[in-house]
Point group: C2
């Protein structure tokens, strides 16, 4: 890979311009509006509530960034933004970016402070409550967050559902299940699997709606509990998707040991995250996600496949493997 | 060009992570420190004042983003970051990014408000004073800004100095000269040219230091004045680099007319900016720069080559051409 020249330095250094432009477009529902039909500048400006000074530059910037098309003066979505950024489609992944726009963009403004102090920079800054406590206390915010997590994870969840050798197993527990998409995708692709989504009680309504909407109420159930205060629900396979990176080293090891305890001999633990390459020099997204854990949590961090394999070996797993999934995400599988 | 898939959507949407990471690295002088010699994690962490929780992820993220290298546990600059982001080198371009980190990152957090209201979102928000008035009132801030502008422009300035047919002309005025790099580069490359840097009186000390340091005091002089309140100093060639985009349509036309008045028949006006392609669908940086003018000014905007040619024709220029320079920047030349 080539190193950055002066253009690349400027492009990344001012990269927040393009980033915030896309985030504002999602916030203003540009793509949801254009999913109905292409529109000209005047109509779109009126419907979105854009000021005449800024409307054309904003929309044309989205064209030049390849998030919109413009043909004969009429703007339309690209096929990707139509699929992924139209709020009314189930394939919408904008939830995580709405959250980034509403919260993370400004919290990351304090990155230098976080780098100097090692302290989180989100709502919990200076106070006693942590991010998850604040999040779970507010039903609407929580629901938004849980859906956002689904948007971020569903591609990977489908891969795990199809690629993992599910024929060797009958039951699975999804730890920190959120809306339940991982266990839902596994159950949809593998009719012989029944499963449990394990998360705090506040998650139940969102989880149960989603499971019912996928016609899986007979095979997929919710179990309320804290994965630190209680044993994990026993199953052939324990799964943790985008969970382990939220916690500090000791907490990570506790979770891996609890998973070991909850599965039978021959059972499996599947951990996935934006797992960093062992040399820590390639997966920029995974390393930046770890800085996001610095901003969001008291001790969380992302980790390499070798790190996770080490914790699994220490807990007693006899066999492990690291498999790349999609984009920045990989999974680590441990067999007891 | 391919349209974004889900990865591209996430990469741009969360692009402020990489952007802010680079900006914090510049703020913390990572590259200036490593320009001295490569250093291991512990040494670098101590010297930069990084917290142990974040140091390794931060530095390895910079490695994965190709702004640093790591060999046998020792971090070093790439040749580009060594040249362009070491504060002690004259080739340092980080000033503009220091300014982006200190000001623009948070102002851009209000992009949606700017898009809805058409109103600027910087220090001048809600108040009477504009950005330039605030800037010029504070000598140290002003000096930093003027140097930052040089970093951003010097590559383009050198191109104009070598590529424009200077042999046909003897004098030049650089309007809104700032530190004076454009007229300095032109005078350095063309010993027969003498020139004037025209800007507000507060700029004089910074300009005169820079001209003297380049050994040009005998051929390049400063003229104090406002380009709206006064006539432009007469010359064979009038130049405006990264100036026209700061102003609204009527002000832009005034400046083009004033340039026409200040040159003889056969004289030239050179305007450069991140000029947008005529179809407004390719130069994303130019369109985003125009949104930056929305954030920073009351009426400024970037424009296409055709727009600028139109204003020049209207002012009476008989011949015009648009030439790409470097990266996002092009120049428009008008001949009287």
């Amino acid at each position: 890979m080539n190193e950055p020249n002066i253009d690349a330095i400027m492009q990344v250094g001012l990269g927040f311009w393009a980033s915030k432009t896309l985030l504002s477009a999602i916030e203003m529902e540009v793509f949801t509006e254009l999913a109905k039909h292409p529109e000209d500048l005047d109509t779109l400006q009126g419907r979105l509530g854009l000021h005449p000074r800024s409307a054309r530059d904003f929309l044309d910037a989205l064209v030049a960034l390849r998030f919109l098309q413009r043909v004969d003066g009429r703007y339309s979505n690209t096929s990707s933004t139509d699929a992924f950024l139209d709020k009314r489609k189930p394939s919408y992944v904008g939830g995580i970016l709405e959250m980034a726009n509403r919260r993370l963009y400004s919290f990351w403004g304090n990155l230098t402070i976080a780098l100097r102090t090692g302290e989180l920079q989100n709502e919990a800054k200076g106070g006693g409550s942590n991010f998850f406590a604040a999040l779970y206390a507010e039903p609407e915010t929580l629901k938004g967050f849980l859906k956002a997590m689904t948007g971020l994870s569903t591609g990977v969840n489908r891969l795990i559902a199809s690629r993992f050798p599910w024929k060797n197993y009958r039951t699975a527990t999804d730890v920190g299940t959120a809306q339940g998409d991982l266990i839902v995708q596994v159950a949809l692709a593998n009719p012989h699997i029944s499963g449990i989504g394990f998360d705090l009680a506040e998650v139940a309504p969102t989880f149960e709606d989603y499971v019912a909407a996928n016609g899986l109420a007979s095979r997929v159930a919710f179990r309320a509990g804290s994965f630190f205060d209680e044993d994990l629900p026993k199953a052939d396979v324990i799964m943790m998707g985008h969970i382990l990176h939220d916690w500090n080293l000791e907490e990570k090891k506790v979770l891996v040991r609890k998973a070991f305890k909850a599965i039978p001999d021959g059972g499996a633990l599947i951990v996935y995250d934006s797992i960093i390459d062992d040399d820590r020099s390639q997966n920029a997204f995974g390393l930046l996600m770890s800085l996001n854990m610095l901003i969001e949590t008291t001790g969380g961090f992302d980790y390499t496949g070798a790190d996770c394999v080490g914790w699994m070996k220490e807990a007693g797993f006899r066999e492990t493997r690291v498999e790349h999934l999609l984009g920045p995400d990989s999974m680590v599988v441990g067999i007891k």
